[in-house]
């Protein structure tokens, strides 16, 4: 959405983001529009209001008026824990890269990082620039819980020191409502190797054990569930055997679904266990195998996948799937 401002108009963000000040915006000039995209949730270890951050720090800069001389500045202010800056910053106009420089610095008082991008070219009237300054770290785990995350904002001025437009790029926080406590599950396990063909030249791995560990700080909201998908030409049956929670026997996960055709044999399993922080659920996986007559043209890699329905509080551990792609099938 584009919002033209007059000299006497003060743009007020819907809510304040911690660490980001409100700046008066004045004067005609360049227009600033965040590039749309659903923001990512930012998870905090304490009971803070829910917050988000754009998955990329990117804005569209439009010049509705007369040409702007070289030297326009676009400034992003963000929490450095959340972003990997683009180096060099990317500024494009259509299919063309626009010459630009950037300077990045962090304010020790606030912890906020500022990326100040200077457009080294004239911005013609009616031109639209796309500025990409950073990408959110999608996989920061185990450092993904951000205490008191700072907000994200962008501003553009026609030249250094001049007044311009500023936008808060984060979604407003729902005041007074704490975010649910983050939770997460790590999925690991073990494999057995099976071979076929002369001199055992072909090989496939099938799962023989699954381990689910609650990462905390909060408990998982629902019982642990997962699926096991294997190539049916190599693995005929999949069942769960003994299960132990923190070393003590528990009921083995029950099969909740099955998809089996010539392409995939997938079983879906659900347990009775809601994993709290540090809980470890070990499950034995029992398989019946098949031996193909020779090489295979295609392959279904084995994959164990967490199927617990996610929510914004779920931590992205990077261990939601257990798979191997090093089979040798032809």
């Amino acid at each position: 959405m584009t919002m033209p401002m007059s000299r006497r108009t003060v743009l007020t963000a819907a809510t304040l983001s911690a660490g980001a000040g409100l700046i008066k915006v004045s004067g005609p000039g360049l227009l600033l529009t965040p590039v749309a995209g659903r923001p990512l949730p930012v998870r905090s270890p304490d009971a803070a209001p829910p917050s988000t951050c754009p998955r990329q720090l990117a804005v569209q800069v439009v010049n509705p008026g007369s040409a702007v001389a070289a030297g326009a500045e676009v400034t992003f202010t963000y929490d450095p824990r959340l972003y990997a800056p683009a180096s060099p910053v990317i500024v494009t106009a259509g299919s063309r890269r626009v010459e630009a420089t950037s300077a990045v610095g962090t304010d020790p008082a606030t912890g906020l990082t500022t990326s100040r991008i200077s457009v080294r070219e004239r911005i013609p009237a009616g031109a639209t620039l796309l500025v990409v300054a950073a990408t959110a770290h999608p996989w920061r785990y185990p450092y993904d819980l951000v205490r008191r995350p700072a907000g994200t904002s962008a501003a553009v001025v026609p030249r250094s020191g001049a007044a311009g437009t500023r936008r808060d790029l984060g979604q407003p926080r729902a005041a007074g409502r704490p975010a649910p406590t983050p939770w997460g599950i790590e999925l690991t396990g073990g494999w057995a190797r099976q071979t076929w063909g002369g001199q055992d030249r072909f090989a496939y791995y099938r799962p023989v054990s699954v381990r689910l560990r609650g990462t905390g700080p909060g408990p998982a909201p629902r019982p642990a569930s997962f699926s096991i998908a294997v190539d049916p030409r190599l693995v005929a049956t999949v069942a769960t055997g003994a299960a132990r929670l923190n070393g003590r026997p528990v009921r083995s996960p029950r099969r909740a679904g099955l998809t089996s055709d010539g392409v995939v044999h997938e079983t879906r399993w659900t347990s009775d266990v809601r994993l709290g922080p540090g809980d470890v659920l070990d499950i034995e996986v029992l398989t019946g195998t098949r031996t193909p007559p020779g090489p295979l043209e295609t392959i279904k890699h084995p994959a164990v996948t967490l199927t617990v329905p996610g929510d914004d509080a779920q931590r992205l551990t990077g261990f939601e799937t257990l798979t191997r792609s090093d089979a040798v099938w032809r």
Partner: protein, 784 residues
């Protein structure tokens, strides 16, 4: 959960759910490989491929290359949507997920391609096939937790420099060294060596090694790359990937003095010549888990126990430390006699614990506890000093998920097991680099014995040498092949962090070597019986092998007395590798050695013949042992020409004589006694091993003396009268026809000509009686 990932998952399942060969991904809003597999199959379908596969392989790439770039200017909306979905799964903006490729999608593309290092100088609106291939992986192009900025820069440089080459694919830029990064580096080196597309492999083979030996690849202080790429940068990359500061940030492409100093420290760490230059040995240690595999180490490990011949071989080859197994079968396990052999040679050893361990199913917390306890018990049994590092083996290519779920819990168990045993020993780990590193970093190993030889293991690709490495196993070889001292070893480089064990606290037992030998033979006997040869109990097989060592116990006549010899078993044992030294067996009560081949023969006689109901009547059982020897003592006296009145004194001084001046010396006497005692045990319990029985009788002076009483009781009913009468009847008795036949033949073949008596029955009775009495008195002197 990511709403856009959820939307992508729903879109791809809804769009392709009915396509034959499509596999749906779970709709959880969480990205992962299953979603990428689904997107890959979707792309294959759009390309007209009908045999859909999880793998984005050469066929898919070829089809996509024929199609061209995917993006704003390509026609297939679904393919554009697949790219947008892939962007969201990677953490980038993918716009509206409708193939429109608007600003938001282009922001994502810009960010991703730049993060990959392949962004170029123009705006990215369409992406080439290699970028699509990389998009549909879980590789990250921003730093992940623990990633290094410098490594990320190098990753991007590798991608930027080489992604245009046919065999090079865009790799991760997450700041972590990994298998794919390792491969990318080696490809870069191969390209720099001038290897052509289609010939590069990404692994260090003979051609690459040859190139690295060349002058062009040698980099040293003052070297500089002529342009944006070259061997200096590649060397710096290799240093950085292995955890050593490369000065990439300050001086990429220039070999500075600071880099040379760092190289020297690396060379010191890796036990290489400290030249400060990037020469072949250093290149190899940076690129391959073996380093230069032709390096000669000072340590080794071997499966088969060492004997006097093989230890001479390894010593002469320069080895000074040997790794050996604390438990296991006879073809593997360390023994006290082997420890003596090693330490007497001036070598040291380091203990390894491995029972199975070649698959993940052998690893769990409970199994670790058992392993810790068992290893400590075994080590304590050998008298291995407290504080020695015991290396617990992980003998398979464990991937990260297995290390997390099974290996580390196992080593936690090892630690608890060792603690429960009183915490006497330190735990080390044997395994590939990643296993060693992770187990050590988790605090469960203080030293690493690295299986660097397994260069193809994923755990050795993309991981540096662990900081606490003590031994690096780099090559397998056979020393002195074809000779009696031939031994197959693994050549290990020693860092010096573990000097090994040079002495043990357990007092040496002079019979350890013999017990080791017997146990080894018993294992062969067990194998022989497992192969279906069940006509003899294992102890008899062992005794037969002992018997076979001396020629005059062999032959058809001997078989009649001692039992038919299983010559196939003897050949089986003779051909089996790793036989320990045939060490002597010393009687602790008199410090004399028993004649083991004689024992083997006489023991067979006990098993195959019976004692007469009238114990004064000798049978073949006796002829095969003390009886035959007594006949020889008689013949020896008669041959001496001494007067008849001297018969007793002569026999008394020659029976069980310590000097080798007769035919019934102490070795024979002990063998005869043991044959009856152990033979009686075997007849009662055929499964009781000879080694166990010998350990009992020879384990103390008291037990050793007791066996003479056991012999007296077992054969002569504890009656001196029976003893003397039986002794006389051995020489001249006529009660047992079979015995008589054997005696006469023996006398005829061995003594008739030398004594003047064609038949032993013709010997005067008083002489026979005196010799028999002498025997009885000798035995009585031994009975406690």
């Amino acid at each position: 959960m990511d709403e856009m990932v959820l939307k992508a998952q729903r879109w791809v399942n809804a769009t392709y759910g009915a396509v034959p060969g499509y596999v749906a991904c779970a709709e959880t809003g969480t990205t992962g490989w299953p979603t990428m597999y689904s997107l890959t199959r979707a792309l294959q379908h759009e390309l007209g491929i009908t045999a859909l596969s999880d793998n984005f392989g050469p066929a898919t790439l070829a089809k996509l290359t024929a199609y061209g770039n995917v993006g704003l200017h390509s026609a297939n909306i679904n393919m554009r949507t697949i790219v947008e979905a892939g962007l969201y799964c990677k953490g980038y903006s993918g716009g509206l997920l409708n193939g429109s490729f608007g600003d938001a999608t282009q922001v994502g593309l810009q960010g991703m391609t730049q993060n990959m290092g392949v962004g170029g100088d123009s705006a990215v609106t369409d992406i080439p096939p290699k970028v699509v291939k990389a998009l549909l992986t879980m590789d990250a192009y921003v730093k992940t937790a623990g990633g290094s900025d410098t490594i990320q820069k190098i990753q991007r440089w590798l991608n930027a420099t080489y992604w245009g080459r046919a065999d090079f694919f865009i790799g991760p830029c997450d700041g972590h060294f990994s298998r794919d990064v390792q491969k990318a580096l080696v490809l870069g080196i191969q390209y720099q060596l001038g290897m052509a597309d289609g010939t590069v492999t990404g692994s260090v083979g003979p051609a690459t090694q040859s190139g690295l030996r060349g002058a062009a690849a040698r980099v040293a202080l003052g070297s500089a790359d002529p342009g944006p790429t070259g061997f200096v940068r590649l060397f710096q990359a290799a240093m950085q990937f292995n955890g050593w500061a490369s000065q990439w940030d300050d001086s990429a492409g220039t070999f500075t003095a600071q880099l040379a100093a760092t190289v020297r420290r690396f060379q010191e760490f890796a036990m290489l010549p400290q030249t400060g230059a990037g020469e072949y040995p250093t290149w190899m240690s940076l690129l391959l888990s073996t380093g230069d595999p032709s390096r000669k180490g000072t340590a080794m490990d071997c499966m088969y126990p060492l004997n006097s011949r093989t230890i001479a071989t390894v010593w002469n080859a320069g080895y000074r430390t040997v790794g050996r197994y604390l438990t296991g079968g006879t073809n593997k396990v360390l023994t006290s006699s082997e420890i003596a052999l090693i330490t007497d040679q001036g070598m040291s050893f380091f203990p390894i614990y491995q029972e199975n361990g070649d698959a993940v199913r052998w690893f769990s917390y409970d199994q670790g506890v058992a392993a810790g306890r068992a290893a400590c018990a075994a080590a304590a049994g050998f008298g291995i000093p407290a504080g020695t590092v015991i290396y617990f083996a992980v003998d398979f290519d464990a991937v990260d998920a297995e290390i997390t779920s099974a290996i580390i819990p196992h080593f936690r168990g090892v630690a608890d097991g060792v603690r429960a045993a009183g915490n006497p020993y330190a735990a080390g780990v044997y395994g590939c680099r990643n296993v060693c590193r992770r187990v050590s970093d988790a605090g469960f190993a203080t030293r690493s014995f690295v299986s660097g030889m397994s260069t193809g293991y994923s755990g050795n690709l993309g991981y540096p040498l662990p900081e606490n490495w003590a031994f690096d196993q780099i090559a397998n070889t056979t020393l002195a092949a074809g000779s009696t001292g031939a031994v197959e070893i693994d050549n290990d480089i020693a860092s010096g962090r573990d000097p090994g064990v040079t002495s043990v606290t357990r007092p040496r037992d002079v019979n350890d070597g013999c017990y080791t030998y017997l146990i080894w033979l018993e294992a062969r006997a067990g194998q022989w019986r497992d192969q279906g040869h069940l006509d003899r109990p294992a102890p008899e097989l062992v005794a037969q092998y002992l018997r076979s060592r001396v020629g005059h116990y062999l032959g058809s006549g001997q078989d009649l007395v001692f039992g038919p010899l299983d010559t196939d078993f003897v050949a089986f044992v003779d051909g089996y590798p790793g036989r320990p030294d045939a060490a002597p067996l010393r009687d602790p009560s008199n410090f004399r050695d028993v004649d083991l081949p004689h024992f083997g023969a006489s023991y067979g006689a006990v098993l195959h013949n019976k004692i007469s109901d009238d114990r004064t009547v000798p049978t073949l059982l006796d002829f095969g042992g003390w009886g035959g020897d007594l006949i020889s003592a008689l013949g020896d006296f008669l041959k001496s020409g001494q007067p008849a009145g001297n018969a007793y004194d002569y026999a008394r001084s020659h029976i069980a004589s310590y000097s080798n001046d007769g035919f019934f010396d102490i070795g024979d006497f002990l063998a005869d006694v043991d044959a009856v005692c152990l033979g009686a045990q075997t007849l009662s319990d055929p499964n009781l091993p000879l080694s166990t029985m010998f350990r009992y009788y020879y384990g103390s002076v008291a037990n050793a003396r007791q066996r003479f009483a056991d012999f007296f009781i077992s054969r002569f009913g504890n009656s001196p009268g029976i003893l003397r009468e039986a002794g006389r009847n051995v020489c001249v008795g006529l009660a047992d026809v079979i015995f008589m036949g054997a005696r006469e033949k023996f006398w005829h073949d061995s003594w008739a000509d030398d004594t003047g008596y064609a038949l032993v029955e013709a010997v005067p009775d008083d002489i026979a009686a005196d010799v028999a009495r002498a025997f009885a008195d000798v035995l009585a002197s031994y009975v406690p």
